[in-house]
Subunit: 268 residues, 2 copies
Amino acid sequence: MCELLGMSANSPADISFSFSGLVQRSGNTGPHKDGWGITFYEGKGQRTFKDCKACCRSYVTELVKTHPIKSKIVISHIRQANRGGISLENTHPFVRTLYGYYWTFAHNGQLSDYESLETGYFVPVGQTDSEHAFCWLMNQVSQHFPECPGPKELCLFVAQCCDELRKLGVYNMLLTNGDYMMTYCSNNLHWITRRAPFGQASLVDEDLSIDFNKVNDPDDVISVIATKPLTDEPGWTKMAPGEFHLFKDGECILTNAKIASGCMEKVE
Amino acid sequence: MCELLGMSANSPADISFSFSGLVQRSGNTGPHKDGWGITFYEGKGQRTFKDCKACCRSYVTELVKTHPIKSKIVISHIRQANRGGISLENTHPFVRTLYGYYWTFAHNGQLSDYESLETGYFVPVGQTDSEHAFCWLMNQVSQHFPECPGPKELCLFVAQCCDELRKLGVYNMLLTNGDYMMTYCSNNLHWITRRAPFGQASLVDEDLSIDFNKVNDPDDVISVIATKPLTDEPGWTKMAPGEFHLFKDGECILTNAKIASGCMEKVE
């Protein structure tokens, strides 16, 4: 299995505190030592650092920790290999382009009988169930929508596709096009939104604390999504199985459950 | 305009010596300070480091210089912006997937009247003439070949596409799918192949020398392609306008001119 970390913020923010906690699970407090990656968006552009060495022992990790890149959207993943060998082409996050956006994807879980899923133009490069599922999902979206859909349509359709993938096994997912951060919970995904008044927090996996008052502006809104809570703060919420969240500018603006119940305060 | 650097080798090799020379042209000995990028292949996987700051002043540059990544295929680019602003999405190299391979592209030159070139599924993310030309090229290849073609077919077809692009302006190109390194010369591209007996070389742009005997094995074959020669060695050859080279495992195995003349010693 693997661990996921995602962030959506309303202005470019530094994820290095949360990333420091995740790194510890890659070989120190956790067994996820078969590669890691992190994608930062800057406008419509993105850059991805990845390595098939353990994150806690990679010199690229040091770069990311010591020279934080501020970003509104980040996806990170540390890997414990199951499907597909330890190699760069099997290392998350995976990136594809659609509608003139870079779409970035990371997965926690394991799928069976995924090989026959039709991927069309989006042929996988590596051998993982995760990249295959991503390519199928991108193909489904591209076939269903000739142009990039709005958030409600995207949310409903991607959630339905994720429901299909969950039938094949465990499927916790982070997906972004640089504008929206989308998450799907199969069994294990948590989230927190931080806003003023900010408090203090300590990492669960490392002796490191932060006073968010000192690093954030009063208007900042930042949501963090992770496999397991990274800090000791109150406010971490476990997502329900089958729940799809859509974040934009740091806020959770939609879930599939809200749409189904007709409760759509913030969109439309 | 911009500068290009490419490498093809028969075993994973360190490009940091040549890269050190290129870096000097990004703000020190040259004006190409509007971003830079470098893509390393490891198997079918690739990782791209990029920054829209000047290469000679970027901390990611230091990482690449001090922790060399050995690779059989590398593409690097330093940018002096003309079409498209200074931003991450406009920074080369650009990457797309096709036939289950990552295709990586960098361009030196400037094109006019490129906006109407049909890109199909390969919609550009940024605003450069370069990415637009790459997307058109990928769309042409995907439309022409249902499956990944062999080297001769690929060479002939891509060379024809490059001829079309050259009608729109200056088009010097590096393109790779991680297996082949393809180059097209519009007006300014040089190459050299190094093999035993290796000699010594000094960079043109920096006071740095190397004894290739000490860093290479006797069986190593390495070709380097660059806008302008990076070292003082004999053996740099200027490519002719309209010339397309296809390198594999460090050797130039094909050119469009050789195919046209029926001279095909090494392939088929």
